[in-house]
């Protein structure tokens, strides 16, 4: 079967130096093709040199150890701020600066490695690389200046620390974070005009407020003059947009005359409701546009790489170019070394449908997708107990137990038990009756798991993608550990570790989450949320970058101005947060002293509070008192960047994810590959597996097999089943890419590489929007 005329009609596209022996040349070609396929599989779009040395370097560059190493150095570099003054854990300057130099060396090494892999022209035209180099140089200069000034005891500002996130953003591996940044940058021009109009509106209202209230001699609750200074008014009204000082800012005027509340209501409707929605609309619209553009770019780039790979490996058979089966196998083994052989067999069966001994172009182009499909091989077996003691397991008592466990009522009974447990947790646990009940509940849960394992086949129950079963079991084990630990600690009567005790407490409560498992609608929502997870981590990266920059600036500007010393606020110094300027301020009165910029962790927590927005004026007011009124600009700047831009992008992202999930719920997007697997009769629908009945279902098929009437195809694959990783567990990006790909004709070559890289979102808009799209 394999390779009808493999060596014979082979025609190369890439010319290699002729002195190389043919076998080695072929290996080189295979490596090159495998590099293209692997890039297509992981959506990498780094151009690389095709010389043998460059390809080997490229493999090394993409190796997971290198990626882990670079992320490790980025983490070390970013976390240095924890050890530098103002430090959470102080280390001498020499130690941190040495660590920083080490990180910079690693970054530089990675860059040099990259330069060796990629064509010179491309390397120097890429802004990312320039950025990294400039940052390395600037950091070194800053280190030298700061070090030498420190040596003569002059303190200066370590400004280059705010540049550190550049490394996180600019390495080619952080494509997702960079994409979000690009999305923000592209949104800026559109949002700028709305922002200007919004600021104009705030200014007009400020002028009105000055004229209306300035001369009335009104006082705020603190006894300060109300609305007399235009800059104060602009600040207060900006803050009113965030709703953080409503209705305080209105009360003096409203108390004076109820007529004035109309002014504030108008302001709120226009600026808080309408303008803030418009910001969301603009950000969302741009996010959508650019998301689609990027997806299109990725899809075409993938197609492009696969065509390159095909052109390298193709041989002529009859009238068409194909890839021989042997070549195909070798390629697959290079691209995915850990693939199991039944899995490989399945992929080959799909690619070479007619079993002609070679793979044609259209099928070859699908290889990257095939490799991306997470196929779970399920070996259907009987329950081990059935093998060991069939008579007992099949006795009528045993069958009754199994039927009981599979019954709906079994689930409901345990739901009720969980609810009762929740009530017991809320009650006072010093009551001995309640602490005994704790053990009762725990044993009930363990009985449940054991019964389930008795009824369902254990290896299927703990299959690799049986998320909810794992979840359920882990929670019960955690609860068991927690209860045991709690009892041990309580009987030992020494609460020596606060944190461990707290974790134990939380684990005991988390078991209530089991109720989610048994309500189908809850499970759907949670599954969607879990799918969003990976991209939320991207947002985590983005937020980390912005927080880091603002935290470094904040620490330089505000550190040591506010001190938290005494948890009970008894000393007079503690009452004013160690700063007399805060005497009688709301900041000190509400005991906000711990909200300070004295180290990185505290700064992050303050920034988190600012993201939530409420009490922004209180925090801004406090720090303005201890430094200067201009400090308020820092807080407004943070609000504009984080709340108006990033939080809106976050909301846009969640909206989009839910819409994709909703439109899929109602319809079917199946790729050709999934259809093939179904056609071959070796697939199991995720839906069948999802349900409580899942293993049941497999069992039924199994008995069909034991009767040996399974069809031939199934026997070929050694009675393995392949489960296609569910659509439900795919990310929004992957789903959209799949949708787009299903719309490109399988033969289409797509535009040229240059065109692909220059796609703009404007091209995407249909000239005549139709009813379905537009609303």
């Amino acid at each position: 079967m394999p390779g009808a005329g493999r060596a014979a009609g082979v025609r190369r596209l890439r010319r290699q130096p002729s002195e190389e022996p043919p076998a080695q040349e072929e290996d080189q070609n295979l490596l090159l093709a495998a590099a293209y396929v692997s890039d297509a599989q992981y959506n990498r779009n780094v151009p690389f040199e095709t010389s043998p040395r460059a390809i080997r370097l490229y493999y090394f560059y993409n190796h997971w150890t290198m990626q882990v190493a670079i992320y490790f150095f980025i983490c070390v570099d970013l976390s240095l701020a924890l050890f530098e003054e103002p430090a959470l854990f102080p280390l001498p300057f020499l130690a941190t600066s040495l660590a920083e130099v080490l990180c910079l060396t690693a970054f530089f090494g990675r860059l040099v490695h990259f330069a060796k892999v990629t064509p010179q022209m491309v390397f120097w035209k890429d802004m990312k690389n320039i950025c990294i180099m400039v940052t390395i140089v600037l950091t070194l200069i800053d280190l030298i200046i700061y070090g030498s000034l420190e040596a003569v005891n002059v303190h200066s500002v370590r400004w280059s620390r705010a540049l550190r996130p550049v490394f996180l953003i600019n390495f080619p591996e952080s494509r997702q974070i960079r994409r979000t940044f690009r999305s923000i940058r592209n949104t800026l021009p559109d949002i700028l005009y709305v922002f200007l109009l919004f600021m104009f509106s705030v200014l007009i209202f400020s002028l009105m407020a000055l004229k209306l209230f300035g001369d009335r001699g009104l006082k705020t609750v603190e006894g300060l003059p109300y609305f007399t200074n235009i800059l104060d008014i602009v600040f207060e009204l900006y803050v009113l947009v965030t709703t953080a000082n409503s209705p305080d800012v209105m009360m003096p005027a409203y108390n004076f005359n109820w007529w004035y509340c109309l002014y504030f209501i108008t302001y709120t409707i226009i600026n808080t409701y309408i303008f803030m929605s418009v910001f969301l609309a603009v950000v969302y619209n741009n996010y959508r546009k650019h998301l689609k553009n990027e997806i299109r770019k990725l899809a075409y780039l993938k197609r492009h790489k696969m065509i390159e790979a095909f052109n390298i490996l193709k041989v002529k058979v009859g009238t068409e170019f194909v890839v021989t089966e042997a070549q195909w196998r070798r390629l697959a083994k290079v691209v995915a070394p850990h693939i199991s052989s039944p899995h490989l067999e399945l992929l080959l069966r799909i690619s070479d449908e007619g079993q002609k001994g070679h793979v044609d172009k259209v099928s070859f182009l699908r290889l990257a997708d095939l490799l991306n499909i997470q196929v779970v091989t399920i070996n259907i077996r009987r329950h081990p107990l059935e093998d060991w003691m069939p008579r007992v397991y099949r006795s009528s008592a045993s069958l009754l137990v199994q039927r009981m466990v599979r019954h709906r009522i079994f689930v409901w009974v345990y739901d009720v038990i969980i609810l009762i447990n929740a009530i017991f947790i809320a009650l006072d646990e010093r009551n001995p009756f309640i602490s005994y009940a704790e053990w009762l509940f725990l044993s009930l849960y363990i009985i449940e798991i054991l019964l389930k394992l008795y009824t369902y086949e254990p290896r299927a129950y703990f299959g690799r993608r049986q998320f909810w079963n794992w979840f359920d079991t882990l929670i019960i084990i955690a609860a068991l550990v927690a209860t045991v630990a709690n009892t041990t600690i309580q009987s030992a009567r020494k609460y020596n570790s606060q944190q461990i005790l707290d974790i134990v407490l939380i684990l005991r409560i988390l078991r209530l989450l089991r109720i989610i498992v048994s309500i189908q609608r809850f499970r759907v929502i949670v599954t969607t949320l879990i799918n969003i997870g990976p991209t939320i981590l991207t947002f985590g990266g983005l937020v980390l970058v912005v927080y880091y920059v603002f935290a470094i600036i904040g620490m330089e500007a505000f550190h040591g101005k506010v001190r938290f010393s005494d948890p009970n606020f008894t000393s007079p110094d503690a009452l004013v947060c160690g700063n007399p300027a805060l005497k009688d301020s709301a900041f000190a009165r509400d005991r906000y002293c711990k909200n300070n910029f004295n180290d990185l962790a505290s700064s992050f927590i303050v920034l988190m509070e600012l993201t939530v927005v409420n009490h922004l004026p209180l925090l801004a007011g406090g720090f303005a008192l201890v430094t200067h009124q201009a400090a308020k600009l820092y807080f407004i700047g943070f609000h504009i960047v984080v709340v108006i831009l990033i939080v809106n992008i976050f909301i846009a992202f969640i909206l989009e994810a839910f819409f994709v999930a909703y439109s899929l719920e109602k319809s079917e997007v199946e790729t050709a590959i999934e259809k093939k697997i179904q056609e071959l009769g070796v697939g199991i629908q995720e839906e069948e597996m999802q349900d409580g009945m899942l293993v049941d279902n497999v069992d039924a098929k199994d008995s069909g097999f034991s009767g040996d009437d399974g069809d031939n195809k199934r026997k070929d694959l050694k009675s393995l089943y392949f489960r296609i990783a569910s659509k439900k567990y795919r990310t929004v990006d992957a789903l959209l890419q799949q949708m787009f790909e299903s719309e490109i004709a399988p033969e289409e070559e797509g535009p040229s590489l240059d065109e692909i890289l220059n796609f703009s979102p404007g091209d995407l808009y249909p000239k005549n929007p139709n009813f379905e799209n537009s609303a």
Copy 2:
């Protein structure tokens, strides 16, 4: 030309009693057809009887005086709450109850009128009518009980007042508000599961908080125990979702150990950011789905009505059914009596393209759309000054002035003047130099207007749809009036009317809005916002209904508990808002006494503050102190209804409106009618009219006419131009309906009436969502 064989081949579809003379029968048919066309034009979907008497009654029912009358009575009924105890303007019970009975009679009369028009079956199956009748009966019962108890001096609750908004919602005229309510009702099942999961998450976190913090003996800033009672914790954590008590609620735990902030951060991310976004996603998704379904329903209903009308009037000419031109004219005159005769001529020209003397079916079906197009007839004339003194107006000095005014720099100079004016307004006006400058600016603005009127033709400049010119001129006139009034009042030295002075102050500042007129991008944003205007009013109606119900409940529960007496808060009673329970509370300390439920206006203002959410816990806490802890449920209920449902629908609506606007900006949706008008060469593109150059442009065409080389069609229409009301000024609904209609084939009859009325949003989803739709 008219009516080739009008009476001859006429075949009736509706059979009338045979004893009626033919002419009268024809009139009846015309009236019936006109009723259908008129319903299609205004998107009414009330079925009516086709007997002559019912049709006449139906005309009377739809007459604008009747509609105004019913809205008047609804307003009176709703505003009765201002005069009933607790009243803003107290009136005796007898007066308000008489007024209420009068209103109820009017509502009942309207209902009886409707019953006579519509078929019996339809009337009794319609929930709206049943609702109104039940509400009338309940209100009467409540009035009688309350009145008789009052007579024996027993005070009871006027509970039926909360039902009053039923009249506003349920009359067929309030279709928009009802649609929004329907949208909310349809969203409920979907949102319910998310809400339950969300509440479940809040409960889990509450239990954790109880276990983590309950036994620590922590105190809040007020010195109260911190997180010891599960109900308090649930309330505090629910409020934390609204961000209203962040970071206060965290500070005691955070001050105790920084480790605990992780708990609050996790909580905020999950419940505030993720769940609130999911709520928005669910609401938006449903809003979209139902909007599209309603639009589709409306479009098919319109088509249906037009086909009915055609079937009544059709006569057979040759092989096809048509409507004769004479019939068409009579019909148009009945449907739109105020239509001008050139306008009618234009419509006929469009409908009867080949001038065959009759209108075919496809053209006839467009009649409702044709009548809906707001056509502005523009009579192009020369500048009056050019007629009166051509030599002077065309002198080189005059031409120079005109060129100058038309130049960009002229606009920029005035922008700079406005900015300088803004600075002057911000300065202290008691300085005499500044008050003189005021007059200088004003005269500069007046000179600007005069120059523009000199350059452009005044009647064109103040055309009916020249929004921005009107805007500009009105602002300047208002500023002039304001400045004069201000000077008069100041010289008279008696500030007798506070309100007038305030309005004058605001008018003087509003002139700065003129800067919007001169920046194109600002104008685009503002135009979109103005388009949204009418639908925002629908939301106003919705919010009014919800506020009214909550205000009535709030007034019953809380009135008189908190009193505002002394604006300067000097008496000890004023310091505790007249209620000793509020002693030392944050409510009294922040001087919130005027935030009370003592009358309808105050209640609305409190509800507005609650909508903005911030300080919700302070308000809820205050009212819980003066009544009972259960009062907090009222505030949480309000938050769920208004913020989670209504505000999200509002945001969904603005998002949708902006997306439609954006996708139109990039493309062209032109209906056949607009194309026809352009083809006939009698249309002027809105774009040409919009710009500063507009009248200029028309002038140019005018001179072409004066040379008498205009083509025939133009001459036919007496050198009138028709301006199609711009796409920019259409509402989202109208735009979507147009998009949908452009996708139905002109010949398509559409589904049957029953099918149309039973459309469900589920049918809309495409089986295979494509890339464009889904993201």
